[in-house]
C-alpha cells in the first residue's frame, strides 16, 4: 500500500511538474435546489451545466489569466428551494470557502433573494434563470446583477405576436382560454398577459388559476373546453405542464394554439407525448439548427448522461461562459476588475452574442418555441437568429 502510494505520488509529481508550472485553482461556488419543489427543474437545467462547464474549462486547460491557467473547482450547495438557505449558502461560500466567484442561483425567486448578498460581498451575478418584470429598478439597486433570460413582458409579448400572426392568417379566431399556476411566476405572467391580449384584440373566454401541486387538473381543462376557445394558454410549472397536456389529450381539447410554459422545452416532454406534442408551443426556445447548439447537446449528453432542455439550459451555459470570458478578458481574478469587464463588454456565447442594454439586461432572447416533428424549435425571439415559422396545432393524433 505504502509503496503504491509513493509510486503514485511520484508519477503525479513528475506529470504535474511540467504542466503545473503556473497552474492554480479557482474556487467557484454553485448554489441551487437539489431538493424541494424546484429540484426537478434544476436537475434538468442547472446542475448538469455546472458539471459540463467545469469539465469543458478544465479539459481545455483551465481559464487563462496572463501566464497562469486556473483550473476550476466547484463547491456545490443545496438550497432546498428555500431563499433563506440560498442566502446562507452564498454567505458561506463568500466567507468560509472564500470562493473566487459564485455562479448565479436557480429560478427568479432565489436569484432575487440572493441579489443583496451577492451585492454585499461584491460578486457579479449574471443570472440565467431569472425572469422578472421590474428589471429596470433592479439594476439601479444592484449594479452587478444581470438578466439574460428576458422579461415577463417580452415573453408574453412574443406569444401574443405569434398568435396575432396566426389569427391574421385565418388559422385561429380571437378567443383564448388562459390559466396560470398560483405562484409568483404564473401570476406575474398572467397579469402581464391580460391587458396585452385585450390590446391585441383577443377575448379571454376562460381565465382561472390553480394552486401549485394540484393533483387533478381535469376540471381546469374541462372548464377551458366548455368555453370553446380557439387558443389555450397556460403559464404553468413542470408538473402541471405535463398534467395539463395529458388531460388535454384525454379530453381532446380542440385548439389551434396550445401553449404551456416551463418544461415544454424539456426533452422529457417530447419523449412522453411523442407525436401528440407536435404543434405544442412553450415558453422560450433555441435555434435548434445551430451547429454550436447541436455540439453542446452532444457534449451535454456525453458528460452528464442526459440531454439539455431547449431554452434555459443553453442560457445557463452561456452565462457561465460570460464568467470565463470576463476573467480572461480582465486578465485578473480580482472581482472588481472582472465586474467592470462584464459591465463594459459584450460576449460571444453558446446562444450567440450577448450585449447589455442600459439596465444590464440582455435584450435579445427567445420568447416562444414549438415542437415541430419531434424537435423543439424557437419560433419567436426579441432578436435571435434562426426563428422558424409557427404551425397551427392539428389535433392530438394517435
Amino acid at each position: 500500500m505504502t509503496r503504491y502510494l509513493t509510486a503514485a505520488s511520484l508519477v503525479a509529481l513528475v506529470a504535474g511538474g511540467g504542466a503545473a508550472f503556473a497552474q492554480e485553482t479557482l474556487t467557484i461556488g454553485a448554489v441551487g435546489p437539489k431538493t424541494g419543489p424546484l429540484a426537478g427543474g434544476a436537475a434538468v437545467t442547472y446542475w448538469p451545466n455546472v458539471q459540463l462547464w467545469a469539465h469543458d474549462v478544465n479539459e481545455a486547460g483551465g481559464i487563462q489569466v496572463g501566464d497562469t491557467s486556473y483550473m476550476v473547482e466547484i463547491i456545490e450547495y443545496d438550497d432546498q428551494t428555500n431563499p433563506g438557505q440560498t442566502i446562507q449558502a452564498v454567505q458561506r461560500l463568500a466567507t468560509q470557502d472564500e470562493a473566487d466567484f459564485i455562479l448565479p442561483p436557480y429560478s427568479t425567486g432565489l436569484n432575487l433573494a440572493a441579489a443583496p448578498i451577492y451585492d454585499r460581498f461584491g460578486y457579479p451575478q449574471v443570472t440565467s434563470t431569472a425572469n422578472t418584470g421590474n428589471v429596470d429598478e433592479l439594476s439601479d439597486q444592484f449594479p452587478n446583477l444581470y438578466v439574460t433570460l428576458g422579461a415577463a413582458s417580452g415573453m408574453v409579448g412574443g406569444l401574443i405576436d405569434v398568435m396575432t400572426e396566426l389569427r391574421e392568417a385565418g388559422e385561429i379566431d380571437n378567443t383564448v382560454a388562459m390559466v396560470n399556476v398560483a405562484d409568483a411566476f404564473g401570476i406575474e405572467l398572467a397579469e402581464e398577459a391580460r391587458p396585452l391580449f385585450e390590446e391585441a384584440g383577443f377575448e379571454i373566454v376562460y381565465d382561472s388559476s390553480y394552486p401549485l401541486g394540484t393533483q387533478d387538473l381535469s376540471p381546469v381543462i374541462q372548464g377551458a373546453s366548455d368555453a370553446n376557445p380557439s387558443s389555450f394558454v397556460a403559464f404553468s410549472y413542470p408538473p402541471d405542464t405535463f398534467a395539463l397536456t395529458e388531460q388535454a389529450i384525454i379530453e381532446e381539447l380542440d385548439v389551434g394554439v396550445f401553449y404551456t410554459a416551463v418544461a415544454t422545452a424539456f426533452p422529457a416532454y417530447g419523449e412522453r407525448f411523442g407525436p401528440a406534442a407536435n404543434g405544442v408551443m412553450g415558453i422560450g426556445g433555441v435555434n435548434a439548427d445551430d451547429a454550436g447548439f447541436q455540439d453542446y447537446v452532444a457534449r451535454h449528453l456525453e458528460v452528464t448522461g442526459q440531454a439539455p432542455d431547449s431554452w434555459a439550459s443553453p442560457m445557463v451555459y452561456s452565462t457561465f461562459q460570460i464568467y470565463q470570458q470576463a476573467i480572461e478578458g480582465a486578465g485578473s481574478i480580482d472581482r472588481a476588475e472582472v465586474s467592470e469587464y462584464i459591465a463594459n463588454n459584450s460576449f460571444d456565447t453558446l446562444i450567440g452574442p450577448i450585449e447589455w442594454d442600459e439596465n444590464n439586461n440582455n435584450p435579445a432572447y427567445w420568447t416562444v418555441g414549438q415542437w415541430q416533428d419531434g424537435t423543439y424549435r424557437g419560433i419567436a425571439s426579441t432578436g435571435r437568429e434562426g426563428e422558424v415559422d409557427p404551425i397551427v396545432k392539428q389535433g392530438w393524433g394517435e
Partner: protein
C-alpha cells in the same frame, strides 16, 4: 354528474395515497412522516420498469409492494421498535416517531437523489380517453380508482373477516390488553406497519401513471394523507375511504363551479369543519 365521477376518481387517488398511512398510524401507532417518500419510491419503481422494460405499472405493483413490505418491516424492527419499547405513553411514542420518521424522510430523499437524480420521472401510460355517459375520463385514473376499490375492499375484508385482521384491530384499540389475550403485539405491529408501506408503494406506482413525481415531492403526499386519515378517523379504513372521496368530490365541485384556485382553501375548510364537529374524525372512536 360529471363532477361526481371526476370527484370519485380523484377520491380514489386520495384513498391510494392515504390508506397506507392509516395502517401505519392507526394500527401500528407510528406517525410515519416518511410515508410520502415510500409513495415516491413506488412511483419510481413503476417508472423504472416501464421505461427500462416496458413492464406495465399494474404488474410492477406486484414487485414494488413486496419490496416495500420488506423494507418497511426492517425499518420497523431496526429503528422504530426500540422507540415503541421505551415509550411510556402514546404521547411520547408519537413525539419520538414523528422526529425519527421526519429524519428518515430526509434520508430517503437523499438516497433517492443519489440513486436516481433529482429529475422528474414522467411517462405516459394508459393516457387514453374513456367515454362514460357523454363525458371523457383518463383511463389511467379509472384504473387507479378501480385499484383503490380493490385494495380498500381487500383491506376491509382482511381486517374485519380474518383472524389476523382482528388481531390488528385489537392492537389498534389497546396494545396492552391485546397482549393479555395472547396476541403477539410486536409481530403484528411490525406486520401492520410493513403492510401500510406496501399499500403506499403500490399506490405510488399507480398514481405515477398520471402524476409527475420527483424525489422531493413526497412531503406533499404525506400532508394530504395525514389530512385524510385524521378526517376519516385514525385506525378506520372506512373513514379513510369516505374522507378521500368527500375530499375528491368537494375539490372537483369547487374547481368546476367556483374556481380552481380555491380547491386548497376548500379542502382545509372541510378539514377544520370536520375537526370542529367530530374531533375524533368521521369514523374515529373518542379517546377514553
Amino acid at each position: 354528474m360529471d363532477i361526481i365521477f371526476t370527484g370519485l376518481l380523484l377520491g380514489g387517488t386520495y384513498a391510494l395515497i392515504a390508506l397506507g398511512l392509516n395502517l401505519q398510524y392507526g394500527m401500528a401507532r407510528i406517525m410515519n412522516l416518511a410515508n410520502g417518500e415510500t409513495l415516491v419510491a413506488g412511483g419510481f419503481g413503476a417508472y423504472w420498469f416501464w421505461t427500462g422494460a416496458q413492464l406495465s405499472p399494474l404488474l410492477t405493483v406486484f414487485v414494488v409492494a413486496p419490496l416495500a413490505f420488506a423494507v418497511n418491516w426492517l425499518i420497523y424492527v431496526v429503528i422504530l421498535r426500540p422507540l415503541v419499547k421505551r415509550a411510556k405513553s402514546r404521547g411520547q411514542l408519537e413525539v419520538d416517531t414523528i422526529l425519527t420518521t421526519f429524519g428518515l424522510s430526509f434520508m430517503a430523499v437523499g438516497i433517492m437523489i443519489a440513486l436516481f437524480g433529482g429529475d422528474y420521472f414522467s411517462y405516459s401510460y394508459l393516457a387514453t380517453p374513456v367515454r362514460f355517459i357523454g363525458e371523457t375520463y383518463g383511463l389511467n385514473r379509472v384504473v387507479a380508482f378501480a385499484s383503490a376499490v380493490l385494495i380498500g375492499g381487500a383491506l376491509w375484508l382482511w381486517l374485519y373477516r380474518s383472524k389476523a385482521g382482528m388481531a390488528v384491530r385489537a392492537i389498534a384499540v389497546s396494545p396492552e390488553s391485546a397482549r393479555l389475550v395472547g396476541i403477539n403485539v410486536p409481530r403484528i405491529s411490525a406486520m401492520a406497519f410493513a403492510l401500510g408501506g406496501a399499500v403506499t408503494a403500490a399506490g405510488g406506482a399507480l398514481v405515477s401513471t398520471f402524476l409527475t413525481l420527483d424525489a422531493s415531492t413526497g412531503v406533499m403526499f404525506t400532508l394530504k394523507a395525514l389530512i385524510i386519515v385524521i378526517m376519516g378517523g385514525v385506525g378506520d379504513i372506512r373513514g379513510t375511504v369516505v374522507a378521500a372521496v368527500l375530499l375528491g368530490i368537494l375539490e372537483t365541485f369547487v374547481a368546476t363551479l367556483i374556481d380552481p384556485g380555491l380547491t386548497l382553501a376548500a379542502a382545509y375548510l372541510l378539514f377544520v369543519v370536520i375537526l370542529l364537529v367530530r374531533p375524533q374524525g368521521l369514523f374515529g372512536r373518542s379517546q377514553t
